[in-house]
């Protein structure tokens, strides 16, 4: 669906995106993740055919974004950052205008507008003027606009920014639902959102792709996919050296000292060290009060991958 090769984009000398390579297959929900100013919006604008790349090849739905921009735009639904809308139009009027603009046939126009209003729960504001709507509703009007012509690909730039938790949940469900039929690429810096909705995550930083994998695999990348929390009755320093000698253990960190020492143990990638740790504890005769596995979050993966 999307094929990006060696994409670069500079703004008067400043390189916003450098040598990006990635592809998105039909039916995928891909999260585009990165700190502010990483080049997310720039990439999305290029994908939507709004800005041309400085260098590289970008194919969307089988068309080149520069030479076949019009064909690309027929196949995508794009929701820009901050959702610019005509403030003087009514919701219904706006959606009908956009549907006509996007070549929805006359016979299907009413049905499509009704469908997207239903999907985005806009029924109760259909007669309101867009300028008077709250941020949450505006966001949903933008989303409704993006999918009014039933595009193959949805490009959503920060679809949940500025929404309250209920609305975020609603939009998330909607995206998941849409993902059954459409290909979706969305950018965000809310990590839990990506974890819950996306099949694949692209982490971008300083205009480069740092990682591209499923959320589950990405968290495994981070120091073996998690750590072990251990609380034992033992001298902390002694326990630390002894634990560090156990095979597959990469690092031991003392988090609290005292009668009961608390330790955090990081294993090598993919290794399960719980059995070995227990054997050591039994051999040394330490009292064990707690042993728990802590999963790495996507947040940790994100921080680790985007650190300078």
């Amino acid at each position: 669906m999307i094929e990006v090769q060696n994409l670069s984009k500079s703004y008067s000398g400043f390189r916003a995106v450098q040598n990006l390579n990635f592809h998105v297959n039909r039916g995928e929900i891909v999260g585009f993740l990165g700190p502010n100013g990483a080049g997310k919006s720039t990439t999305m604008k290029i994908l939507a055919g709004y800005q041309p790349p400085t260098d590289g090849q970008v194919n969307v739905a089988g068309f080149d974004v520069v030479s076949q921009s019009l064909d690309v735009r027929r196949h995508i639904g794009y929701m820009p950052e901050n959702v610019p809308l005509y403030n003087d139009m009514r919701v219904d009027e706006f959606l009908r205008f956009r549907a006509r603009l996007k070549n929805v046939p006359k016979a299907k126009l009413k049905e499509r507008v009704e469908t997207v209003k239903q999907l985005c729960s806009l029924k109760d504001v259909e007669r309101k003027i867009i300028g008077t709507l709250s941020k949450g509703y505006r966001q949903r009007v933008g989303l409704a606009d993006a999918m009014v012509h039933d595009p193959d690909l949805l490009i959503l730039d920060e679809p949940t920014i500025g929404l309250d938790p209920h609305q975020i949940r609603a939009v998330r469900e909607l995206i998941k639902d849409l993902g059954k039929k459409h290909t979706i690429i969305l950018s965000t810096h809310i990590l839990s959102e990506v974890e819950m909705t996306c099949n694949r995550v692209l982490i971008i930083n300083h205009g480069r792709i740092e990682a591209s994998d499923t959320p589950a695999n990405l968290t495994k990348l981070v120091r073996g996919g998690g750590s072990l929390r251990l609380e034992i009755k033992a001298p902390a320093a002694d326990a630390k050296t002894k634990l560090a000698a156990v095979p597959d253990i990469e690092e031991v960190e003392v988090t609290a000292e005292g009668e009961w020492a608390q330790l955090r143990i990081f294993s090598k990638p993919g290794a399960d060290i719980r059995d070995n740790v227990y054997q050591l504890v039994k051999k040394e005769g330490w009292d064990l009060r707690e042993m728990a596995r802590e999963r790495a979050t996507l947040e940790e993966a994100f921080v680790e991958l985007t650190q300078d």
Binding site: Y50, I76, P84, N87, D88, R100, L101
Partner: protein, 249 residues
């Protein structure tokens, strides 16, 4: 066809904006009272050699109205889209730049035409209720309105062109007024001590002389070609600038 959808939105947007109604009523009242003034003056002094319409369109007041109203109509067409960011939404729909430019131009022109309907209405009123009857002289009237439309077409294209240059509506308005006034001031040059071929050449471009000719009922094809080709040129320039703005951003 995306053009019609866009055109309907552009033309329609004037009729839901309060500013447009202010401009409409200001023009209607201004023209109406000036028309009334000229009519009374002609009556009191028994002037017979000019028609009221001819007197109305060959005065400073008429030209000022024309030059001020156009920038107010056109200043927002592109500037507002740039400022609100809606241009991004508009140009990521499957529409071409020329469709956007043409729809905005014709939308503004439609409103411009609406603004001059009250003048025609005044003429109709005069011929309906005057006693003794004052007829409408259709040929001079038709020619006058044709020239107003032609000059309006040209001025509106200047306004659309300046609006694509900036995202500040006020700057767009001032710039288009300056350009309109500049082109209009060619009309003043024949009043200076210019003679011979230069004077003849400048006379062709003089809006004042054109209006003098047309309001007498004499049709001249040269202004038609001049204004239409200048409009096409400015609209082409606008389309290129819109494209350049998107490509360089």
């Amino acid at each position: 066809m995306a053009f019609w959808t866009l055109y309907r939105r552009e033309a329609g947007s004037y009729f839901i904006s309060p500013v447009a109604y202010v401009v409409f009523f200001a023009t209607a009242i201004g023209i109406g009272s000036y028309f009334n003034f000229v009519f009374n003056y002609f009556n009191d002094f028994g002037i017979r050699q000019y028609t009221v319409l001819q007197a109305c369109v060959n005065t400073f007041f008429f030209w000022l109205t024309l030059m001020v109203q156009v920038p107010i109509i056109t200043m927002r067409v592109f500037s507002e889209e740039f400022k609100m960011g809606t241009i991004e939404m508009l140009l990521t729909a499957p529409v071409e730049e020329w469709e956007v430019v043409l729809s905005k131009f014709f939308g503004a022109l439609t409103f411009f035409v609406t603004l001059w309907i009250p003048l025609l209405f005044n003429l109709v009123l005069l011929s309906t209720f005057s006693n003794p009857h004052v007829p409408i002289f259709w040929k001079p009237t038709g020619n006058t309105f044709l020239l107003v439309l032609l000059i309006g077409t040209f001025y509106v294209s200047i306004g659309v062109f300046t609006s694509v240059l900036t995202k500040n509506q006020i700057i767009a308005a001032i710039l288009s007024f300056a350009l309109i006034f500049l082109t209009f001031s060619i009309s003043f040059i024949p009043f200076l001590n210019v003679t011979g071929n230069v004077r003849d050449l400048l006379g062709y471009f003089s809006a004042l002389e054109q209006m003098d000719t047309f309001s007498k009922g004499v049709f001249d094809s040269r202004p038609v070609i001049f204004y239409l080709s200048a409009t096409v040129f400015l609209l082409l320039l606008t389309q290129r600038l819109l494209e350049a703005r998107r490509l360089k951003s």
